[in-house]
Symmetry: D2
Subunit: 187 residues, 4 copies
């Protein structure tokens, strides 16, 4: 069975370090046998959540597209920056819209979380905040999370991780997740 | 010294229960001697955070208005719905924009958090998630938080809290916060 | 394949409501095909964690017994009271001792968390705090958690859940976990 | 008004890095005008929390001593190691015992949290977990927290912080807390 993963980086920025990290992780997941659908967060254009807007116009097209991409997958590869010790409001807003369609698109999916930042912690605390709404919505969030410190020094000119030790750590973590996602997809 | 509080409910919905709760709390704060500036969350119209947008156009006008209202106050009365066991993406997005201006407008302010929901927990778990970015940004978040269960049954026809026991609990909590906000404003 | 679960309630109290809940959940898990090893938390007698004590005497016998019982299982059924909006210090102390033996006994295990309390929230916030060290140690914590409100009214004279709706909710949740634990055990 | 602070490091280990850090912070607090009562965590010897033990023998002497020391102070300087991404079970156990006496000894107190570890994050995530039960019990936890990375390289032979930049950062943070604790003590 080929496990299907949906992957995106929760940043609207063109030169996002998290997108670079996501792309590396997606390649590793493919090498481990997964089919990976990589999206741009910009594809899922949607307004700030407003219950009145939802009542009058329904779930916006961008959120519906995101829901369809999630539904088509068994699991998610999700790279997210950390803002103010938590997840970005933009990502939480997308989760809030997605959660409005029943049955919940995220329920029963698995997810692996990644982050990078210019600091020494690599955005890890934002991922811990992100685990909460995902778990609440029924997502099996992989215990291991990959946080990459000093993003501006971490990639080489070809977009690969410069440090072979870090590369191997990411490789093992993604391979471990692909195994788990495959097992859960069949359960 | 009259402590100055800035107050809003983090909901864009016209018939928001959290706004009703916020209005009751604002009245109690005024009765306790605070000057309260009540705003509508809709006044602070701003896009989803995008670092490229910030680089090209700066902090949007709606976020700048929010920053000015925060700067003019000593503390915040903030009522927030709970979405998916966390804070609304809309509120986190506003915090993310506000955090981009230096020196940080929120730093050194105090805040009292309130929530209501139709369920039995009253949105309390969302407030616990909200404490994290606020503390990260240097806000003295009042330990006591007011969460009101079963919002659809909690208010009478005049918009007051129907249950006198609940009303007294809110009263004491807001009075306690006004005392603390006053002490911190002078420190 | 029969999945092996290790089960205990993290309370030292003889008349613990969490133990009653754990026993009901263990029965449901058995009916769903799992082999369940139910332990008493008192069996794992251990001191407060002290690095000097560890250096001089190693991991205490009670913690070693707990480690062996965890190692023998694929997953955990864990019922825990909530103390001060977090997990009991007693349970965290046991986790701290268990985490000292390498390779980590908890790594790769799954877990389903349950709680009950006399209040309306049923101890749910304590479980959210408990997810963090478990995930840190590599446990696949089931997204769905079962929190039972008003424990003093929830059980009938035979120790079963009095409300058939609640009973069915627990049943589905435990069955869902047994499926997931089975899938993960084989991965 | 001289603010009274009660200070301890939540480690039973003789050579605790957190105690070293606590001692440095206590000196800064004294220089800023606070009266600081420094205790050893070992002084508060108490068993693992057990509701049956409490029912038969009451709150143990070690916990009662801790309660008295807390009651005598306006605020706390608390240094805590991080275990498994959360607070030590030993510290949570002490908090659980302390919380059993009414009125709550911790209620209305302020607290500044510090941590150090041999890693690059300095134990900061444990402090975020610790904020939750403290806030639940009514403590005004100072937003700024001091986490010291690479504890084994951070101190000089006299027990002072080796890096003057780090020393100044701690100094400003403790002075800021002493101001806040003084303001809150008078409110």
């Amino acid at each position: 069975m080929t496990v299907k993963l949906f992957a995106f980086a929760a940043s609207l920025r063109q030169a996002s370090w998290n997108r670079k990290l996501l792309n590396v992780a997606a390649e590793v997941a493919r090498a481990a046998g997964a089919a990976v659908d990589v999206a741009e967060f910009r594809e899922f254009d949607m307004p700030l959540y407003d219950a009145d807007l939802e009542a009058s116009q329904g779930i916006p097209a961008g959120a519906q597209l995101l829901i369809r991409r999630i539904r088509a997958a068994d699991g998610l590869l999700l790279a997210s920056p950390e803002y103010n010790n938590s997840m970005p409001g933009t990502l939480k807003n997308a989760i809030d819209w997605v959660s409005r369609e029943k049955p919940a698109a995220l329920r029963g999916k698995s997810a692996m979380l990644l982050s990078t930042s210019s600091g020494l912690v690599g955005g890890n605390r934002g991922l811990w905040a992100l685990r909460i709404p995902l778990a609440m919505l029924g997502v099996h969030v992989q215990p291991d999370m990959f946080s990459l410190a000093q993003s501006d020094k971490a990639f080489d000119a070809t977009g690969q991780l410069a440090d072979p030790v870090v590369r191997e750590r990411l490789g093992k973590m993604v391979q471990g997740y692909v195994r788990v996602a495959t097992a859960l997809a069949g359960s």
